[in-house]
């Protein structure tokens, strides 16, 4: 059996709502975490991300000025000096499927819809610690592999190309998804 040594994990929490930050802090501390840094907007979170180098980021989506989606996009810059690979858990009141898709295409590792529960948060953390996914870099995407499962029964065009170079012209999935939001 495995358990997580939270004592050795450093978290960065980003949520503009002080009550939700308090809830998150309480949950993480009771899991055993000692280091949980907090910010109330995406811009401050990005600074803290560079400074504190957290192991896991937990961010809200809807925040003034610089939101959680933009934070994820800023972190997932493959050529940045910071660590572009840290797991990002998006904790949000948005609960429709197209938002999940937009978050996924911004490089978010796990999506957790509010209302928050201790079990839901623990499971997301366990997943990013125990089952990290490889990263995929394409012209339009950099982030954790969006394919969680292999579907042998899949019928349709192959969207990733192996073998010889073949350039596919396609709009950015992120732009496409965002335009429909």
């Amino acid at each position: 059996m495995y358990r997580i040594d939270f004592n050795k994990l450093r978290f960065l929490i980003c949520d503009d709502n002080p009550h939700m930050r308090r809830i998150l802090r309480t949950l993480l501390h009771s899991f055993g975490a000692r280091e949980a840094y907090e910010s109330e907007d995406g811009a401050t979170a990005l600074e803290m991300y560079t400074h504190y180098v957290p192991d896991i980021v937990i961010t809200d989506w809807a925040m003034p000025i610089f939101d959680g989606l933009e934070l994820a996009q800023m972190i997932r810059q493959p050529d940045s000096k910071g660590n572009p690979y840290a797991p990002i858990i998006m904790l949000t009141g948005h609960s429709d499927k197209r938002r999940v898709t937009v978050a996924r295409d911004a490089g978010v590792t796990e999506f957790l819809a509010k209302p928050i529960s201790a079990k839901g948060l623990y499971q997301r953390i366990l997943n990013v610690v125990a089952n990290p996914r490889p990263f995929i870099k394409t012209k339009t995407y950099f982030g954790p592999d969006r394919r969680r499962n292999t579907n042998n029964a899949y019928i349709g065009p192959e969207r990733r190309i192996g073998g010889e170079m073949e350039v596919m012209q396609q709009p950015s999935l992120l732009d496409k998804a965002r335009s429909s939001v």
Binding site: S95, R98, P132, I161, G162
Partner: protein, 192 residues
């Protein structure tokens, strides 16, 4: 903390994408323990959350008052971008927090209000009573919670508001299929 030096990245290149793998940088925080030594972090966290519950009513009142203040600003100055954003964020926060704080019906009413703000083609054309009733309902649910029959009444109230709001949005978006699809799509949160 858990960080070792980042493990060496292994990059496999294909025609139009690269697959990047690295040794799990967090593997050291995964401890193999005998079953008898497993503790219950989730149970511990639930207890800690219950310990905060004495503050929830106050927090919910603050959130509801923030929503009312945002609405009052709109009544004074109209739907400016900032006013719309603040109304949405206040409602969205309640949508996300209310069930945790023990006010699920307030969360449901706030979700209905968020849908109106997100999907109404023109907020100035939304009947002002529709928005006002949502805000009054949230205030009532938060402030009257201690009354014995409130939970059932609150549920009926929030469901009625959602029905009226959905009817309005479905009609208002009849020529906007992308919004209509979003309005009619089921939530990813399972119904309890």
């Amino acid at each position: 903390m858990a960080k070792e030096k980042p493990g060496k990245l292994e990059v496999t290149s294909f025609a139009d994408h690269h697959v990047i793998t690295q040794p799990n940088p967090l593997r050291k925080v995964l401890l193999r323990v005998p079953e008898s030594d497993l503790d219950d972090p989730v149970g511990r966290a639930e207890k800690a959350l219950a310990g905060l519950s004495g503050e929830f009513k106050n927090w919910m009142t603050i959130e509801a008052d923030r929503l009312s203040a945002a609405h009052a600003a709109i009544l004074r100055s109209g739907f400016t971008d900032d006013a719309r954003e603040e109304l949405f964020r206040a409602a969205h926060d309640i949508k996300g927090d209310a069930a945790t704080f023990g006010f699920p019906s307030a969360g449901a009413a706030a979700e209905s209000l968020c849908r109106i703000i997100e999907h109404a083609p023109d907020l100035d054309q939304v009947p002002s009573d529709l928005i006002r009733h949502h805000i009054n309902a949230i205030q009532a649910i938060v402030r009257e919670r201690t009354k014995l029959d409130t939970a059932a009444t609150a549920g009926v109230l929030s469901r009625s508001l959602r029905g009226i709001a959905d009817e309005f949005l479905t009609h208002a978006n009849r020529d906007r299929p992308e919004h209509l699809e979003a309005i009619l799509a089921p939530s990813i949160i399972p119904v309890e």
